[in-house]
């Protein structure tokens, strides 16, 4: 089982990259990735919420929803857990590290409506992953998410000074960058 965890991590981070292959968490990808500092903070925050969220949703799923045969309630339960958890993470960060809290700013509450967080909970559920596999899958997905967010922000910092055709300025050129990145990530398909 141990060697499989590495495969799960690589699959989630590179082959099924959340942003470029599964299209989850695109709002921060296009909205926030304009400077590297913010991208790093956002990546860390989302990864943190994804890992803790996977642990809690796994426990709820296996201790409450499955024994009482109310699995169809999973969406309602998961979104509530995520919303509550984002609030708690926000409060904890505010009390312990004010600098980090200010750096993350408005992005923290927005994590609730990030498809990546609910996405990993649902993928763990539909895939019937074990507890540790869920955690590693969340960690891998978060790492892949952060990686792409940081790459994109680096490229977009340079795009600001580039001479882009008028019609392509802003979102369209960001999509073109995403095409090339996505094509590169498709290439990881054969490694496992």
């Amino acid at each position: 089982m141990n060697d499989n965890l590495f495969v799960v991590f690589v699959t989630m981070a590179l082959i099924n990259n959340f942003i470029l292959v599964k299209f989850l968490g695109l709002c921060p990808f296009f909205g926030i990735s304009k400077n590297i500092g913010n991208a790093v903070s956002m990546g860390i925050a989302v990864t943190l919420v994804m890992v803790i969220g996977s642990a809690i949703t796994w426990l709820i799923n296996h201790l409450v929803l499955i024994p009482y045969e109310i699995r169809y309630m999973n969406i309602v339960m998961f979104i509530l857990v995520i919303a509550v958890m984002v609030q708690i993470v926000e409060m904890v960060i505010k009390r312990t590290n004010l600098t980090l809290y200010n750096a993350l700013g408005i992005y923290l509450p927005l994590i609730t409506t990030n498809c990546a967080v609910l996405g990993i909970a649902l993928i763990n559920d539909t895939g019937d992953y074990s507890f540790w596999t869920s955690l590693v899958a969340a960690l891998g997905a978060g790492a892949g998410f952060s990686l792409v967010l940081i790459i994109m922000s680096g490229i977009r910092e340079r795009l600001d000074t580039a001479d882009v055709p008028k019609a392509m300025k802003g979102l369209p050129i960001a999509f073109m960058v995403a095409v090339l990145l996505s094509l590169a990530f498709i290439g990881f398909g054969g490694i496992v």
Partner: protein
């Protein structure tokens, strides 16, 4: 006067503030399920149902919900309708349910729905909220169908809808460009469409 406002709220979501092409909301599903027309239409039907029902309920209870807890209340209402549509799809169109996968459940975090709830239904009456929901859903469907149209034609060389083959192009049918079905093709088609709309200015008032 009332009818005039009804139509105004309905049409604004379709072109002037099209959720996908103008507001860039709900990008995740529009990229993920626009590989063929079946998925695009199925997803649009799901969004239409959830948006319509949640707008009606949220508009009806807008004076009862305390301001502090309104977002969690909205999310639970939306999640309930997503669960309902998920069970309906699973029961009556299982193949569509399979191919939409987790993206059907992810309607719950679709920014369009929470956005309309927060920006419109929580401030306006039920009738106008219905118009608003219909407009935004039609705009979403239009965007998804346009994207899926190009991706399916280029990626498979023909067009088919729910099992009916509409046509197959002569050369492209034998040598389809698989690229457009793959994820990068989705980014390319949306990016080019956005650039085209910006260049021609058709989405401006």
């Amino acid at each position: 006067m009332r009818t005039a406002r009804f139509w105004k709220e309905l049409t604004k979501g379709i072109i002037v503030s099209n959720p996908v092409f103008v507001l860039a909301l709900g990008l995740c599903p529009s990229l993920a399920v626009s590989g063929n027309l079946d998925n695009a239409l199925g997803m649009s039907a799901g969004v239409l149902f959830v948006l319509l029902c949640s707008n009606i309920i949220i508009s009806a209870i807008r004076k009862l919900v305390p301001n502090m807890v309104r977002i969690p209340v909205y999310i639970v209402i939306i999640a309930t309708f997503v669960t309902i549509i998920g069970l309906v799809f699973q029961a009556y169109v299982p193949s569509l349910y399979e191919s939409l996968g987790i993206y059907l459940s992810l309607i719950v975090v679709n920014c369009i729905i929470l956005g309309r709830a927060e920006a419109f239904a929580s401030r306006n009456g039920i009738v106008y909220s219905i118009a608003d929901a219909l407009g935004a859903s039609i705009g979403f469907m239009l965007a998804l169908v346009i994207i899926a149209f190009f991706r399916q034609i280029l990626g498979t060389g023909g067009l088919s809808i729910f099992g009916f083959d509409l046509f197959t192009l002569p050369v492209l049918g034998d040598h389809p460009m698989l690229f457009f079905i793959l994820p990068p093709g989705a980014f390319l088609v949306i990016g080019l469409l956005l650039a085209l709309f910006k260049h021609t200015g058709v989405l401006k008032e």
